[in-house]
């Protein structure tokens, strides 16, 4: 498909008008055919509008049956599949229990409510101190204060126990995710066939919404923190794998030659040459894995991860905004601390260690020594002074009631205004659009997508853009898929309407841009759960609330890509524009925006991906789309239903992604940027 522009022009140059003219005509014709079909075909061919129920393929049932077989009967000779899953859980349970005991529950004797604590967990002062020492070692005093402040916040606002449970899950899942991702990455780098197998799996895993992972994990590993750790691992490993492959590929070929010339064996080549040479990029991956783990651990509260995610979830179910918001703030504090610490770690560990000549164990490792001392002293003192051990309840602040009151106040004073906004949007935009999409013939939509795929990327893309919608229709999900498209489409559109102008305004003003950048960076480190709380508080459950949360989550990439695209425009072109006497407005519209268009399209693509992934989470506030389908499957542990719905969401994501990417590279070619 990699045709270069020149021969393409030559082959059909003579009579045909230039491509920029030909294109709209074909599109308009296809659009007209589609509209005619939509308006007049219904009486003649109803099956094209509503997929016949009798022909629905019961894929969900089959998958569920297969899973059941897997659990009940499948066996590998010596041991059954259930033995295998039990074994995995048991293995992961060891580090998790250790981390959780150390940080939160203490070491217990016995189980359940009759358990007796034999050794208490680490004192909260010790944990805060350790975090500060870590911050100091990695990034100096300011990082120490920031990290310590975030953890102190957890203690002061009474979120300590939950936060430590969440932290324990991350401490187990993130390192394992890094290790597995690295190993997969190395395997893919070393053996081509591994890469061929892994690449499509990675692509798919990136688009399947997180909830969909939870269902089979819940089914296979049961409800509880270990299952949550497994789900987190499955979620966080693919990005690390991807980063590892890219990082290893980016190692200069000379370094590989060097490894061979000094006579490295394969193993030496991997561990002594490649991995160290790639470690800067690998460290970036580590940061990402930690942040993804945090996001997932929060979501995995639905299958028993406990911790802060559970608090938010429980608060949502009770509609207790105060409690939910507090837990939400705690998540934000934890996220900021983990993000800054892991970023500093990445920087510190990828820069070569300075030679340390001082002798003596303590002198060489002052931070380690201080940490050990701190733990010893606080543990001993903790027995004598309880305040050192657990942050005294009397000093805890609870903003829960405060926030509940704020919400109540807002609702009393602005209820009408908020309702009015909500209803206007619902009546004038959301509902009509939903009806419109629901009305469309699935066959016509599929055909039109196929046409778009063909125009933008050739028959291969067309095949994809026909088959995936067909999958949705054939498995009987068309209606729910259209609701998904409607919510996602509107949210992405609004996010773009907000994000693109902000991107344009901030791109050319350095000072504003650096502020905006910090804001969107922070927004992106927040787990998606956090976005739900404020929206629910103001607008209660429903499509509009979901939309607000999705917009808040998805606006960051729209801003980022727009601004980056504009900032990337060659300054010489701008100068040339000025020299020709363009006004600022002309420079913006004729030069900047035009050249940044491919980038903006990619940003739109990301916005849609973000919106889709958030949409599934908004199932919690009662939408009726595929996300809800996954959520219901989750509560019923119905693997087939969850997976099919998850795959359908992935199908939507893939179609949108491929079409927009093809469109972007099409535009780029037309602008001569490629």
């Amino acid at each position: 498909m990699a045709m270069s522009g020149a021969p393409l022009l030559k082959s059909d140059a003579a009579p045909a008008p230039p491509p920029s003219f030909r294109l709209p005509i074909a599109w308009v014709a296809a659009g007209a055919v589609f509209v005619l079909f939509w308006l007049y075909a219904k009486p003649v061919w109803p099956a094209a509008f509503e997929y016949p129920k009798t022909h629905v393929v019961k894929l969900a049932k089959w998958i569920s049956a297969a899973m059941k077989w897997l659990i009940d009967e499948a066996s590998f000779g010596l041991f059954s599949f259930t033995d295998f899953t039990r074994f995995v859980s048991a293995v992961l349970d060891v580090p998790y229990t250790l981390a959780a005991s150390l940080l939160s529950t203490g070491f217990l004797e016995g189980s359940g409510s009759s358990a007796i604590q034999i050794v208490p967990p680490l004192p909260c002062v010790a944990v805060i101190g350790l975090v500060m020492l870590l911050g100091h070692w990695l990034g100096g005093i300011s990082l120490a204060l920031l990290a310590g402040g975030c953890f102190l916040f957890l203690a002061v606002f009474g979120q300590w126990t939950s936060a430590m449970i969440t932290l324990a899950s991350i401490l187990v899942a993130a390192p394992l995710g890094v290790v597995f991702g690295l190993l997969f990455g190395i395997a893919a780098w070393r053996w081509r066939w591994v890469e061929r197998v892994i690449a499509p799996v990675l692509d798919l895993m990136q688009t399947i919404p997180v909830f969909a992972y939870l269902v089979p994990v819940l089914f296979l590993f049961g409800f509880g923190p270990t299952a949550a750790v497994i789900a987190t691992l499955i979620f966080a490993t693919p990005p690390m794998t991807r980063i590892a492959i890219l990082a290893l590929r980016a190692v200069p070929s000379e370094i590989i030659d060097l490894g061979n010339m000094v006579g490295c064996t394969d193993r030496q080549m991997t561990w002594r040459v490649m991995v160290p040479a790639a470690r800067e990029s690998l460290m970036v991956g580590m940061n990402q894995v930690i942040m993804l783990s945090l996001n997932m651990v929060i979501i995995a509260s639905m299958i028993g991860a406990g911790g802060l995610g559970f608090d938010v979830l429980a608060a949502l179910r009770r509609l207790d905004f105060g409690a939910g918001l507090e837990a939400g703030f705690a998540i934000v504090a934890l996220a900021i601390a983990m993000d800054r610490l892991s970023q500093a770690a990445a920087e510190k560990l990828s820069a070569p260690a300075a030679g340390n000549q001082t002798s003596g164990l303590v002198a060489r490792h002052p931070h380690l020594a201080a940490a050990l001392g701190l733990v010893l002293i606080t543990v001993v003192l903790g027995y004598a002074v309880p305040a050192i051990h657990t942050y005294p309840e009397a000093l805890q602040l609870s903003t829960g009631t405060f926030w509940s009151e704020v919400v109540a106040w807002i609702n009393i004073n602005y209820f009408d205004a908020l309702e009015a906004i909500k209803n206007t949007m619902l009546l004038n935009v959301l509902i009509p659009f939903k009806r419109f999409l629901g009305d469309l013939p699935w066959l016509g939509v599929t055909a039109f997508l196929g046409f778009a795929g063909y125009r933008l990327g050739g028959w291969r893309l067309a095949l994809l853009t026909v088959c995936l919608p067909l999958f949705i229709a054939v498995t009987g999900q068309w209606e729910k898929a259209m609701i998904t498209v409607y919510l996602c489409g509107i949210s992405a559109a609004i996010a773009a309407l907000i994000g693109v102008p902000i991107g344009i305004l901030s791109a050319t003003r350095d000072r504003i841009w650096s502020g905006v950048q910090v804001a969107i960076d922070t927004l992106q480190t927040l787990p998606s759960f956090v976005y739900l709380m404020p929206a629910v508080m103001l607008f209660r459950v429903g499509d509009f609330t979901a939309m607000i949360a999705v917009v808040a989550f998805a606006v960051a990439p729209a801003i980022r890509y727009t601004a980056l695209g504009i900032r990337k425009v060659d300054p010489r072109l701008i100068e040339a524009g000025r020299a020709m006497g363009c006004t600022e407005w002309q420079i913006l519209t004729r030069i900047r925006l035009k050249l940044a268009l491919p980038e903006i399209l990619l940003g739109l693509n990301q916005t849609i991906m973000f919106a889709l992934s958030m949409l599934v989470i908004t199932a919690l506030v009662g939408t009726r789309d595929l996300g809800q389908e996954v959520y219901i499957a989750l509560t019923k542990a119905d693997t087939g239903r969850g997976l099919v719905a998850g795959l359908s969401i992935a199908a939507i994501a893939i179609v949108a992604d491929r079409l927009i990417s093809a469109g972007a590279s099409h535009t780029r070619r037309r602008l001569g940027l490629e």
Binding site: D257, N260, M261, G263, T265, P276
Partner: protein, 340 residues
């Protein structure tokens, strides 16, 4: 002159990039024409190369960008598998060796210096230089002692605990040189070692390189795209174009009798006196028959000329052992210098 022993021999070596290159080569009896290669959509990076590198000489491969130099030197060390042909190292066909034997040879008998230095960013200068020894499994004190010796040799004392990114380009390449010499290789490959350096530093590094070679007498394959560098350093030069060697010979042969117009284009602006060595212009003479100052048979005329300023009519010419082997007359030198 006795013919020196050939250390490294390439026989009809080919490297075609693209699908099924070996099959294509076999179809064309191992000698396809350039047009056929292009038609098949392959890249003929190295074509029908025959050459031998002698013990203790500096063999320079010169060619413009994309002429296949890097590919050729990687074929010689079997970093790349040739599409066809043989590479003999000390009589052993490298292409037939097992992987473990190849590792053995690379560990103990080959060294390579890279254009972009290829230093490991996470290791100090000392650890970088000791790295090949570490890979061989040498213990720490032994390898560090050896590495320090090498660092001394290239004049980097005091920088042992610096990291590559803290060094200048010239210093980094000194580390690369020290590292490649740490294993005492029998053949030393240098792929454009000085191309990434500023002209002044490059000049300094060339001198340094010559100083090392007079000490070490390695067998060297040196890659460059700079003709001046080639004639400065080479005992023999092979000139490459589009993957083929168009001419191979001593700098004098190449300058005096360029084989093609392509070669002549390079030699056009080269001052003869800087290329021609005293050995080629001297009249044979018996030891003791010439009085006065002497020059080495390896020096160029340009180097010898200043000695005539004292008014002597001829110089004695000595071989590497310091024995007088000939006489260089003032008139011959003046005649050559006047030609330019």
């Amino acid at each position: 002159m006795t013919t020196p022993e050939a250390r490294l021999v390439c026989r009809n070596v080919w490297k075609l990039f693209g699908a099924d290159a070996a099959a294509f080569l076999a179809q064309h009896n191992g000698r396809p024409e350039a047009a056929a290669i292009a038609r098949a959509g392959l890249v003929g990076a190295v074509r029908r190369v025959d050459l031998d590198v002698h013990e203790g000489e500096i063999f320079v491969i010169m060619g413009l960008s994309g002429s296949g130099k890097s590919t050729l030197v990687r074929l010689m060390s079997r970093l790349i598998e040739p599409s066809g042909g043989d590479v003999l190292f000390k009589g052993e066909n490298l292409l037939k060796l097992s992987q473990s034997r190849m590792i053995e040879i690379r560990r103990h008998q080959m060294g390579m210096v890279f254009q972009h230095f290829a230093l490991l960013p996470h290791l100090t200068v000392l650890d970088n230089v000791a790295f090949p020894l570490d890979i061989q499994g040498m213990n720490r004190p032994a390898r560090e002692a050896r590495a320090r010796e090498m660092i001394d040799l290239v004049g980097l004392n005091g920088k042992e605990s610096a990291f590559p990114r803290q060094l200048s380009g010239g210093q980094q390449q000194r580390v690369g040189i020290a590292r490649s010499l740490a294993v005492e290789p029998e053949i030393w490959f240098l792929d454009e070692p000085f191309s990434a350096l500023d002209p002044l530093i490059r000049r300094e590094m060339q001198d340094e390189f010559m100083r090392l070679q007079t000490k070490l007498h390695k067998t060297i394959v040196f890659i460059t795209h700079d003709f001046d560098e080639a004639i400065r350093l080479a005992d023999r030069i092979a000139i490459m174009k589009d993957g083929e060697i168009v001419q191979a010979g001593t700098p004098e042969e190449i300058v005096l009798t360029p084989a093609t117009s392509y070669v002549a284009e390079f030699t056009k602006n080269v001052a003869r006196a800087k290329v021609i060595r005293t050995r080629s212009l001297m009249v044979p003479a018996d030891s003791g028959s010439v009085e006065g100052p002497v020059v080495s048979a390896r020096s160029t005329i340009a180097d010898a000329a200043p000695l005539f300023l004292d008014g002597v009519a001829h110089l004695g010419v000595t071989d590497d052992a310091g024995e007088l082997i000939g006489r260089l007359d003032r008139e011959t030198v003046v005649a050559l210098m006047l030609q330019g």
